[in-house]
Every structure is written in C-alpha cells, then in structure tokens.
C-alpha cells in the first residue's frame, strides 16, 4: 500500500509535503490564496503554460471557486473503479468576508483571525489530495497546482455528490442495515464520533473566543489605567502614577499572553479538532455513498429475482455490474478506512502535543513575566 502510494505520488510534478498556502489576499468579497509548491526535480516541466519561478517553485493564486472546481473534478472521476469508496479530503466551507454570525459559526475556528487558520486548512486539504494514492492521479490536481491560469472560474455542473441531495436521502438510508459487520460498526462509530468531535470543536472554539475577549478586556483595562495617572510633582501622586503605569504594563503583558494562548489554541488543537470533525464528515459521506450503493444493489437483486424472463438477463447484468461496483467500493473503502484511521490519530496526536508544548511555553513565559513584574513592585516598596 505504501509503496503503491509512493509510486503514484510521483505522477504529480510536485511534492505533496511542499505545498504551502502562504498568503491570502482580500479582494472585495473574495479571498485569493497564494499557493507555492516545490517542483519535483526529477520531473520535466509539463507545459510552458505552467508557471515556474526561478527558485524551482510554482506560485499560483487560487480562489475558493478554484478549490471547489478541483474537488468536483475529484468527485467526478467515474472511470476510476471504486472511487466512491474514497474518503475525500474535506474542503472547508466557503469563506465569506463580513460573514454573518451563522456562517461564521459554520466556519468555526477557521473563521477566526485574519484567515490564517483557513489558509492552514486549505493547505492541509491540498496536501492530503496530493498525498492520496488515487486522487493525485487526476490531471486536475496538476493543473490546479501548477497552471498559471485559474481553472475554476467557469461554473461547473454540481454532480451527484452534491451535499444537498445527499441530505435528503440521508434520513432514509442512514439506518439501513449493513451486510458487512465491519462497515456496520464503522458506521455506528462514525456516527458517534462525528457528533462528539463536532461539539468538542465547538466548545473549543468557545474557549478560544473567550480567551480573545479576555485579551481584549485586559487591553482595555491596561489602557484605562493610564487615565489614573495624575500629573504633578507631588511625590505621592507620582508614586501612585508609577503604580498605575506598572500595573498597566502588567495587564498589557497579560493581554499579550492571552492573545498568544488563544492563537496557539487556534493553530494547534483548534485546527486539529476542526480537521477531525471534517474528516469524520468525509468518512460519513463515503460510508453513506457506500450505503446508497448497497441499497441500490439490494434493489437490483430483488428486481433481478422478480424480473420476468424477458428482462431477466438484462437485470442480471445490471445486478452483476452493481455487484462489482459495490465490491470495488468496499475494497477501496476498507483501505481508506485503515489509512484514514492512522492519519487522523497521527494528526490528533500532533495537534495535542503541539498544543501542550505551546501552552507550556506561554505559561512559562508569562510566569517569567509575572516574576519580573513582581520584582519591580517589590523594588518599589
């Protein structure tokens, strides 16, 4: 599996690990992402249209529409057997400048700050696509990463994987009994995990938001303390002013500390939980697609049995086709699930470790600062 993945990764002219979304430009209501990827030295330049900077890097700018275009192309690879068994890397929801509270909530942690977390999420998406053994073969990926012309500006047809249609059917088929024990447990587990991760991510977001509020409040307090500074030569007044200024500094540093805590939370576990939650969604979608196929297969089977002799043959063929397709899907899905399991645990671990380390760092820093402030105050006495 691993080897295969490696071989196939080489289809792409860039390394998945080197893809970076470095910048986001706000142009009116649209966000444009600057994507940089390193060219694989062993690959020839495919076409002159492809834009290659002097450093051996591809610099392209893409909007969210381009990303969507890419995803649709990935979904639409009907020629690949078992494509529906693939857990597609989840694309974050569409970013909106000046978004309403509701859409902001949809975006979750990605909507915070100056879109840096969003960039990070996009980057993860691209890396996952590039690293995926099946998806990276799609030409659209290469085009997306290297072509100077933005590919996705013309509207494309929403295909069957459209989420809306899915939602309608979902209720009906979700509870469908699976024929395979493995998939049944996976589905149950996924269902629980999806909701759990979602709430966890939401709660975490709340925490981060509150931390930001605290940081702001500290900033206000720090600024307001300067109001208490009284002019004058009086020694007492000056002493009090000094205390106020010093306290203001303390709160300024508390503000900085809180800000960095919030930022760290966002960039580590926040992103991790968000990704995890989208991952679970993606897996759910995949499982759902498979379930749909299963339902379809079962109905064709029934149809084939009931079919009149005239149609029997045709029906049998349909059934056969459906069976093979389902088998393909199941095979791919099983692989995907194992891979996915590994990826997400690794990702979560990394997020947790990074988070913990950053927390430690900031806590130590601020402890240091408090110590210093304390000494200053001690010296003032």
């Amino acid at each position: 599996m691993m080897e295969e993945a490696k071989d196939e990764a080489s289809v792409l002219s860039v390394h998945g690990d080197d893809i970076k979304v470095t910048e986001v430009l706000k142009d009116g209501d649209t966000l444009t992402f600057l994507i940089i990827s390193k060219k694989d030295r062993h690959k020839p330049v495919v076409s002159p249209v492809f834009q290659l900077s002097g450093t051996g890097e591809y610099h392209v700018d893409r909007t969210y529409d381009d990303f969507e275009w890419l995803q649709q192309h990935l979904f639409a690879q009907e020629d690949v057997p078992g494509i529906q068994g693939v857990i597609f890397p989840p694309l974050p929801a569409k970013p909106q400048v000046n978004a309403s509270a509701k859409t902001m909530k949809q975006l979750g942690i990605l909507g915070l700050g100056e879109w840096q977390p969003y960039c990070k999420a996009m980057e993860t998406f691209l890396r996952q696509v590039a690293a995926h053994s099946v998806l990276c073969r799609n030409k659209a990926v290469e085009v997306f990463l290297t072509s100077s012309a933005p590919p996705g500006r013309q509207k494309i047809r929403k295909n069957i994987f459209n989420r809306l249609s899915q939602a309608v059917e979902e209720m009906r088929k979700e509870g469908h009994k699976d024929v395979d024990e493995f998939f049944q447990t996976e589905r149950d587990r996924n269902l629980v995990l999806t909701s759990c991760t979602k709430t966890a991510a939401e709660k975490f977001l709340d925490m981060v938001l509150t931390e930001q509020k605290i940081a702001v409040a500290c900033g206000h307090f720090s600024a307001a303390l300067h109001l208490l500074v009284e002019p004058g030569e009086d020694a007492d007044k000056q002493a009090f002013s000094r205390v106020c200024v010093k306290l203001s500094e303390v709160f300024e540093s508390m503000k900085k500390n809180m800000t960095s805590v919030a930022e760290n939370n966002m960039s580590t576990l926040g992103l991790g939980l968000d990704l995890e939650s989208r991952h679970q969604e993606a897996e759910k979608e995949m499982l759902f697609r498979r379930t749909c196929k299963l339902v379809e297969l079962e109905s064709t089977k029934r149809n084939a049995e009931k079919a009149k002799p005239v149609k029997k043959l045709a029906m049998e063929e349909v059934k056969k086709a459906a069976e093979t397709e389902f088998e393909h899907i199941c095979r791919v899905a099983k692989q995907e699930i194992t891979r996915f399991e590994k990826v997400r645990v690794e990702m979560l671990q990394q997020a947790l470790v990074q988070w913990c380390e950053k927390q430690l760092l900031t806590a130590k820093e601020s402890a240091d600062q408090f110590n210093k402030h304390l000494q200053v105050f001690g010296g003032m006495a």
Partner: protein
C-alpha cells in the same frame, strides 16, 4: 527613660523572623564573644556580650527584676567603660583595670549609686544603658516605665549584694571563658552573673532564674529560641548595636559622657561593634515606624526627670553630631530623611530608641506585643495631635507609620444567615487581634449583623465628618443581593455576593482601625469589643438607594457651594477637581474590570464544557491511546476550569472590589470637602451677621439710643467671638481635610501596591500550576500513536 518605653515593643518574631534573628544574633554574638574574651583577657576591650546579656534579663524581668538587670547592665557597661576608663580614671570605680573583677564590682556599685544619687550622674553612657534597661523593663510592664530609674536607685542601695554576685559571676565567667570556647563563653558569663544574682536576691531569683536559664540554653542554641530568649536576643543586638553605634558615629565627641567614659567608650566600642551597629542602623532605616513609635514614647515621657536632661544633652550634642545616643538617631534620620526635620527633643530621643527597636518591631507579629508599646503608640498618637502646628508633617508621617505597623487586625468571617424568610439577616464574626493596650484582650470576637456595620458608620460620620475626617464608608445595602440570600437561593451568585460583602466589610473595618483618630473613638471600640451591641435602628432605613442618595446629596451640595464659595485655597480647588475626575475614572475602570471578570467566568464555564466534550470524545474513541489521552485531557481541563475560576475571583477581589472601595471612599472624600464648605459657610454667615449688628449699632448711635446701644454692643461682642470661633473652626477643618486627603492618597498608593503584589503572586502561582498540569499531560500526548 522615655526611650525605655519605646523599647517596650518586645520582639515577637515569627518563626522565620526568629530564625533570622537567631542567625543574626549568633553573628552578633560571635563578635560579642570576642569582645568579651578580650575583656577578660585584656581589660581594655569592651565586653559587648555583657551588655547584651544584661538587657536580656531586664526585658524578661519585671520591676522586681529591674534590679538585677540594672546590675547586670551596669556591670557590662561599666566594664567596658572601666576598661576604657582605665586610661582616664575618674573615680573609684575606674580605679583598676578591667582585668580585676573587683573593678567591675566597683563600677557596678558606683553606677548603681550614681543613678540613685543624682540623675545628672547618669552620664550618657549610663543614660544609654539606663534607657536600655528602662526600655526593656517597660516592655513587660507598661506602668513601670518610670520605675526604672527608681529601680536603679534601689539597686544602688543593694550595691553590696550586687557586687558580690558580680564578682562571683565574673570569676566564674573567667573560669568559664577559659574552659569554654570563645562562643560559649559570653553567654555563660551572663548566666553565671545572673545565677549569682539569683542566689543572693531571692525574690527576684525565682522569676529571673527561669528566664536566665532559658537564656543560657537558648542563647547558644538559636533553634530553641523561645519567646523570652528571642526577645532578649533582640535586645542584645539592638542594644549592643546602639551602644556601639553611638560610639562609632560619635567618635568625634561624646560630650555627655563625663570624663570617665568619654573617650574610652568610643575607641573600644567603635571598632568591634561596627559590624553590629551597621546591622542595626540598616534595620532602623527599614522601619521608620519604629522611629515614630519611639517619638510617641518620648512624647509620653514617663520619666520626666531624666528626660529633660537627656534630650537637652542630646540636642546640644546633636548639634555637634557627637552624642552617642543621638548619633544613632541621626543616622536613622538621615536615612529616613523624614525625621531629621523634626528636631523636637521628644523626637530626637524617640529616634534614638527607634533605632534600637526597629529590628524588633519588624518582627513584631501578633504573638504578644508588649502592652507598653501599644500604650505608648496610642499615647503618642493622641499627644502628637495637639502639637499640630509645628509638627504637622511629622504627625502625618507618624500616623502613617503607625498604620503601617498594623497593631490591630480585624477580620470578618463566617457569614451566617440568621432567621428565615424576609426577616433573615446575615451575621458576621468580627475578630480582632491587637497589641494595643486600649483593648482589654489581645484577641476577641464578636458577632455583628450588617446593620451594625452601617450603624457604626452613621455614628462615626456624624461625629467625625463635620471635623473634616474621611470616614471610610461601608458597603451599601443591596436589596437584590440580600433578597436572594434571604430567599435561600444557594446559587453561586448569592454566595459570591456574601463573600464580596464579607470582604468589603472587613476592609471597611480595617480602614477604620487604621485611622489613628477613628481608632480612638469609643464607638469603634465598643463595636469591636462589646458582646451585645444595642441594635442600630436608624440604619435599617439606610438602604442602598438611600445610602447612595446620602452621598450624592453631599456631593451635590459641594458642587452648589463651590459656585458660591470663592475658593481662596488653590490646593483645595485642585484637589476637588482631582477627586471628581478620579471618581469618573475609577468608575470606568471598575466597569472594565467587571467585564474582565465576566469573561473569566465565561472562560471557566467554557472550559468546563470543553472538558466534558473531551471526555465524551475520549470515551467514543476507539484508539486506546488516543482515548486515554483525551480523557486525561478532560481531567486537565477540569483543573483548568478551577484555575480560571480562581482567577476570576482573584480579579474580583484584587481589583474590582478594591476599586469599588475607592469609589466609595472618593465619595467620602468629597463629603469631607463638603463639610469644609459648610464650616466656611457658617463662618461667612457669622461674618455677615456681625456686619449687620455693626450697622445697627451705628444706626443706634446715630439715633442716640443708649439703652439699646448696650445690647447691640453685647451682641457684637458675641458675634465677634463667634466669627473668630467659626473662622478657627474652618481653619481647623481645612487643616484636617488637607491632612486627611494627603493621608488618603498615601493609603491609596500603598493599598494598590499591596493588592497588586498579592495579585501578581497569585497569578504567578496559577501559571506555575498551569505549567505543572501541562507538563503532566505532555507525555500522555506523546504516548499516542
């Protein structure tokens, strides 16, 4: 002798302090020991130890004991002196070199007789020592302060007995010295002396014996340090240092010391003691408060006879900078910068003693402050006031320093709901810990309900408000908060309310007792001490709204009056503006802090819910390592929630409540301005009235109506008196307000600083806790995979 009273604050060091003391002492002792050895070996070197030792017993011993201590003290002192005096033998006492014990005895006898015969005889050296003695003796018994001199006299009568013991002791000491090592030697000497004393003077002996024994055992072993021993040790250090300090600084001239002691003291003490002296001085510097205390004590002047002499000498000497006792003081003054200005006799003396006391006072804790100290303090405070004009500045400082000492701690604890339904009320335990002698006990506890606190405020503001004092206001009544409590809702907001109020009441009381004049009020004492307080009825109507109205009314009146009043004093004009803008700003800041607290609380709840969801995620997770890590994470977050909650409380109590206090206090400040205005108004009205009367008089004169003229004249005289009276009142109120405002500002800075330091400490602690939590979690996270 006044100094003696100052001495009185016995060092009641905390355990830590004790350790420090011990170590210091040991250091000091070593030096002392050396000196002592020198003495014994060579007459010339002054036995510091001896002097030290003498103070010890003195401190422990009461009046009766004073004798022996005085003897002891005399001995050591004289010994050094004698040794020095050898060069200049002035009297019989000096006759022989220190080597001989007889000499010592002689000295002792002479000394003892000296005080008895004439106070004048007490040269400076003697004075110093006497002071020391006195100070120590008074510690134990306040009343005895005066007695010290007498005691010394009494001693003189018993010279024979005393001398004998001394000789014995010394001989014994010699033996002991030789036998023991240098360090042990000095202590042993003392013990020897003391023991000998005991043997001969039995009445004293019993009492003395114990302390002495303790001393002996304790002295060598710092660890044992029991109170008495500690105290004595302190005494040693202080005294020794003082004594020595004097010589050091005064090197130039010890005029007061008569021919006998003059030069030798300087030489001998100066060098060996230098180290110690430094210590003492440094300590002295640290605590100005001591100086103030001392001043107070001086003011008290228990021993009038000696006092005048000494102060006079001191000052004269001071001018020269030579006087031994003064020298220490002068250094202190310089360092402090504060006291140097105050050249009154009293203060000078006080300062001298201060230097001695300072180390002790530092350590003073609740343990058991000597009654004398407290009395002296209070007395000082009261005495200081009358002298207002010249000493105003000093006074202020004094007061401030007095407060610094916190000789009285009030705590409000255990809020308890009494009764049911709407008749329920909250009662609090008010515990007082004090060293002040104005209270009968050192600790006492009473139960007070909230309206009692308000009642106290009513009484105080009625009595002291018109005089321009800033009476600290209590927290307002809160209908909403109290109703919740009454209804019995046990939710967090009502608990929060009760706790906030408890803290506010505690700070309110502490502010009152920190105020030197409010503390003197009988109502305050009654409130703190009396078991059952008559119910304050009127305050029940003083609801939150009413209370606010009261303050607002005051401020309104002020603003109206300012329009009318043509403010002659720029200072007041500026201050009033400052107070008003400060009020605005404090309100703003209060709102900001409150919102910060709200956010912190929010963070705490959010953290809690995240912890919950993390726990759920952990339980849903298949991967065992990940699942484990997640549930660990949930635990960490649970702890974090507590931390955030603590921080919210911390913000509340460190800043929000502090600022709320100050908003109230600023109202009180404005109230005091208002009272000043009223005084002015009254004065102006009286003036107008007088003017009118004069006009009528002129009219009458014109109309030639002698019968009514007489009446008019009388009226004019009456109103003239009133005008002067009111003018004086106004001046007085103005002065008080001014002083109070300055005090208020000083307090404000101090208060804030203290709070901030506390706050930072707790922040630091919580960060460290945080670090601990994360460090524990990190390996868990790394173990996933």
């Amino acid at each position: 002798m006044a100094t003696s009273s100052e001495r009185s604050p016995p060092p009641f060091p905390d355990s830590e302090d004790q350790d420090v003391l011990d170590s210091e002492e040991v250091g000091g002792r070593d030096s002392d020991e050396d000196d002592g050895e020198d003495l014994f070996m060579s007459a010339s070197s002054p036995p510091l130890i001896n002097t030290d030792s003498t103070p010890e017993p003195a401190s422990q011993l009461s009046d009766v004991l004073t004798k022996p201590p005085s003897d002891l003290m005399n001995d050591p002192l004289f010994e050094p002196i004698i040794s020095q005096t050898d060069d200049k033998p002035a009297g019989e006492a000096v006759s022989e070199p220190s080597d001989d014990f007889f000499d010592l005895i002689n000295n002792v006898t002479t000394e003892t007789t000296g005080p008895a015969v004439a106070e004048i005889s007490l040269d400076e050296p003697s004075d110093d020592f006497v002071d020391i003695l006195g100070s120590e003796t008074p510690k134990e018994e306040v009343v005895v302060a005066n007695v010290t001199v007498e005691a010394a006299a009494a001693e003189s009568e018993v010279p024979g007995g005393v001398t004998e013991p001394f000789t014995d002791g010394k001989t014994g000491n010699d033996a002991g010295l030789e036998a023991d090592e240098s360090s042990a030697a000095p202590i042993i000497d003392l013990s020897g002396d003391l023991s000998s004393n005991d043997a001969q003077q039995q009445p004293i002996s019993d009492k003395i014996a114990d302390p002495l024994v303790d001393l002996r055992s304790n002295a060598p072993l710092a660890a044992e340090a029991k109170k008495p021993s500690v105290a004595t040790m302190d005494l040693f250090e202080d005294e020794g240092s003082d004594l020595f300090a004097e010589p050091q600084q005064t090197k130039s001239a010890k005029q007061p010391q008569k021919s006998l002691f003059g030069e030798p003291d300087e030489d001998l003490f100066g060098e060996p003691l230098g180290a110690i002296a430094k210590k003492n001085t440094s300590k002295a510097q640290k605590e100005k408060s001591d100086t103030t205390k001392a001043a107070a004590a001086a003011a008290e002047g228990p021993q009038p006879a000696t006092k005048p002499l000494e102060p006079a000498d001191i000052f004269t000497e001071e001018a020269v900078t030579a006087p031994p006792s003064i020298s220490t003081t002068s250094t202190v003054n310089k360092t402090n910068g504060v006291n140097s200005e105050a050249d009154t006799d009293i203060f000078a003396e006080a300062t001298v003693e201060l230097s001695l006391d300072s180390p002790r006072t530092e350590r003073k804790t609740e343990v058991k402050p000597s009654a004398s100290a407290s009395t002296s303090l209070s007395a000082a405070a009261s005495i200081a006031k009358p002298q207002s004009a010249a000493l105003e500045e000093l006074e202020e400082e004094e007061e401030e320093e007095l407060e610094d000492k916190f000789d009285i701690f009030v705590s409000v604890k255990d809020p308890e709901k009494i009764g049911d339904g709407m008749n329920a009320y909250m009662a609090y335990k008010v515990s007082t810990q004090t060293t002040l002698s104005m209270f009968r006990n050192k600790t006492f506890t009473v139960r007070r309900r909230f309206s009692d606190f308000l009642g106290l405020y009513e009484k105080l503001s009625e009595k002291h408000g018109p005089n321009g004092f800033i009476v600290p206001p209590p927290p307002e009544k809160s209908l909403l908060g109290m109703t919740k409590v009454k209804v019995g809702k046990e939710d967090s907001s009502s608990a929060d309310f009760v706790e906030r109020r408890r803290g506010a009441l505690e700070r309110y009381l502490q502010r009152i007792v920190n105020h030197p004049s409010l503390l003197q009020d009988p109502d305050v004492r009654e409130f703190l001490e009396r078991e059952d307080l008559p119910r304050a009825v009127s305050t029940q109507a003083l609801s939150g709204a009413g209370f606010l109205k009261m303050i607002n009314k005051a401020t309104d009146a002020v603003s109206k009056m300012t329009i009318k009043m043509n403010e002659s004093d720029v200072w007041f004009e500026e201050k009033l503006q400052e107070v008003e803008s400060a009020d605005q700003q404090f309100r703003k800041i209060h709102a900001l802090v409150e919102s910060l607290v709200v956010h912190r609380k929010e963070l705490s709840t959010n953290t809690a819910s995240f912890a919950k969801s993390a726990a759920m995620l952990g339980s849903a997770e298949d991967n065992t390592a990940l699942s484990r890590a997640l549930s660990q994470l949930a635990e960490v977050e649970d702890k974090m929630e507590q931390l955030h909650q603590d921080q919210a409380a911390n913000d509340t109590f460190s800043f929000a409540e502090l600022i709320a206090d100050y908003i109230r206090l600023l109202g009180a400040v404005r109230g005091s301005f208002d009272h000043r205005m009223k005084a002015w108004q009254r004065w102006q009205d009286a003036q107008a009235m007088l003017q009118k009367k004069r006009e009528t008089e002129a009219k009458l004169l014109w109309a030639n109506k002698p019968d009514k003229l007489q009446l008019a004249k009388e009226e004019i005289a009456e109103w003239e008196a009133k005008v002067t009276q009111y003018e004086r009142d106004f001046e007085r109120v103005s002065a008080t307000v001014r002083k109070e405002v300055v005090r208020f500002e000083k307090e404000k800075t101090k208060n804030f600083k203290r709070q901030i330091i506390k706050y930072l400490e707790s922040q630091l602690q919580s960060q460290q806790q945080l670090i601990k939590y994360w460090e524990a979690f990190l390996p868990e996270a790394k173990a996933i995979a």
